[in-house]
Amino acid sequence: MNQIKNLSLFGICMAFVVIALGAWTRLVDAGLGCPDWPGCYGFVVFPINEAEIAIAESRYPTFPYDINKAIPEVVHRYFAAALGLLAIFLVYLSFRKTNDKSIQGWSCFLLIFICLQGTFGYLTVSLKLLPIIVTIHLFGGFTTLLLLYFIYLKSRNFEIFNQINISNLKVISGIALAVLIFQIFLGVWTSTNYASLACADFPTCQGSYLPEMDFKNGFNLNQEVGPNYLYGLLDNPARVAIHYSHRISALLVTFIFLILMSRLWFSEAAPLASTLGILLLTQITLGIINVVYVLPLYVAIAHNLVAACLLLATFTVNYLAWKK
């Protein structure tokens, strides 16, 4: 059980790294750094010297080679593959070292899920960054993280969790989780449609609290398969609709979380309340910096990672509220 505990904790760290690398790939516009999958221009790693680059360019004449875009893509793939190996090892350990049926079941599910996630990684390349596919791919990453965390919680049995009784917070913590997932969707949709800079000012958007918005095209989840979606294809009003929705929804998240946090506070679970509060405040600050300072790379990656932390924290509250 000790090994499962340690391996799943290591897996959580790995998942954070893979998510960060995924965000990095997206933010330096390197999603199509390699036009093929699983190789990169037919190479196992990526073309380095002039001779290799010449071969690569003759293989894909329509995709000029850029080593600065190939590196993020390939590094992301190999770290993700390593996480897959970790999942195989976790399944092995769960059957060898324990009889806990639920840990065994969840480990197997994790392995299958990571394979599925790899498939979506392939689809992001082959469907040329179709926003809905990239969105699902990020949700897959967050779900992988959540599964590892869940296995970790099950193997760990924290003593302190038994002292917390927040069974009267079932409904509000569930609502908070749902609203947070919705907000993460809007955030990912903002990123995958290149809408992060659609509003350059804050708190107004293009100088107005009610900018021109096109929700019909902005939230068309059934976009055409085929064109290259690098740098986004939507018109400005559609991007504004996406971006502004993410902002307004942040207000809703804050409102719900304030209620949840106060109720946690009055339930004598103040540490959980302050954790949520600190994460939420950090996340809002990062979001504002993203807009005002024109999407600094590390801030944008941090915005993604803190979203993952908020998801884990909110999941923990739900776990404690619903536990028998």
């Binding site: 009267n168 409904v171 509000i172 209620i259 106060s262 109720r263 009055f266 339930s267």
Partner: protein, 288 residues
């Protein structure tokens, strides 16, 4: 028979009933299950007599003003159905009766709190505040907000934080409730030179205040849920009711039609009634 009806009208029955409902909810929330309905009935009648007495004193003091306003000129004193002396004696008798009931059969704390709110409304508000400042109904609203505290204290014999929370809800609700009516009746208040907010600071400013107080009310109405006093039934009811109230007040802000002020006023009455009903439903469904 008409005389009896005049005395009945002297008590402002509609206002007293609303106060009794709020006091009754305070009583029911004070304990997990009702121990004695007879006791609640006795407490309520004590509070009712005092509240009626306060209403009668208010009408005696204000009889000349009431006569010149269409909202109030149908009251028994302006109509000449009762003399000021008879009304005063009546108010004194039922006031003492109410206080005695509370002192003998309920508890001293409830009697003191009830008399304090009687004095607050019938004298401090009617005689002084009403004519002294546009904040009249904000400060005076505290007396009108007391019923849940009175009800709660009659059962628990203490001043509970939860009871004060209910008082806070009514206290914050009173200004938007009353100012909506004051906008509708502003000409009459102006004629009597009563410094109601729409008279002294204008209708637009009053409408802004109504919106701001409704926003505060929105937040305050969620407090029973936040402090674990109530559950989700109350949360969803409060969210829905406060949202509708906010809609009415924002609509009023952008409207030029005085009828919208009347609509806001009418909704505010449903609002406070339904909020307390939701508290009650929530309390007893969670328990059972």
């Amino acid at each position: 028979m008409t005389l009896l009806k005049s005395y009945y009208e002297l008590c402002k029955p509609n206002v007293v009933y609303m106060m009794l409902i709020c006091a009754f909810v305070g009583m029911l929330l004070a304990e997990e299950s009702v121990s004695s309905f007879w006791y609640l009935f006795v407490s309520l009648s004590g509070i009712a007599f005092c509240a009626a007495s306060a209403a009668a004193i208010n009408q005696v003091i204000d009889r000349n003003t009431d006569a010149s306003m269409t909202r109030t000129d149908q009251r028994p004193l302006p109509q000449g159905e009762l003399s000021a002396t008879h009304a005063s004696i009546f108010a004194l008798v039922i006031g003492i009766l109410g206080a005695l009931i509370l002192y003998l059969y309920v508890n001293t704390l409830t009697m003191i709190l009830t008399l304090a709110s009687l004095i607050g409304y019938a004298f401090i508000y009617t005689v002084y505040l009403k004519r002294a400042t546009p904040q009249n109904i904000v400060i005076g609203g505290l007396a009108g907000a007391a019923p849940p505290l009175l009800g709660w204290a009659s059962v628990s014999n203490t001043i509970e934080p939860y009871a004060l929370l209910l008082v806070l809800i009514i206290f914050v609700w009173t200004p938007p409730h009353f100012w909506a009516l004051a906008i509708y009746r502003k000409d009459e208040y102006a004629k009597e030179s009563i410094p109601m907010l729409p008279v002294t600071h204008g209708v637009i400013f009053t409408k802004l205040q109504i919106v701001l107080y409704t926003i505060i009310l929105f937040i305050v109405s969620l407090l029973p849920y936040v402090v674990l006093m109530s559950g989700e039934i109350y949360l969803f009811s409060a969210l829905a009711l406060s949202t509708v109230f906010l809609y009415y007040s924002i609509n009023l802000y952008y409207s030029n039609d005085d009828e919208d002020a009347m609509k806001t006023f009418q909704f505010s009455i449903y609002y406070i009634f339904l909020i307390f009903l939701a508290l009650l439903l929530d309390h007893f469904i969670i328990i059972s």
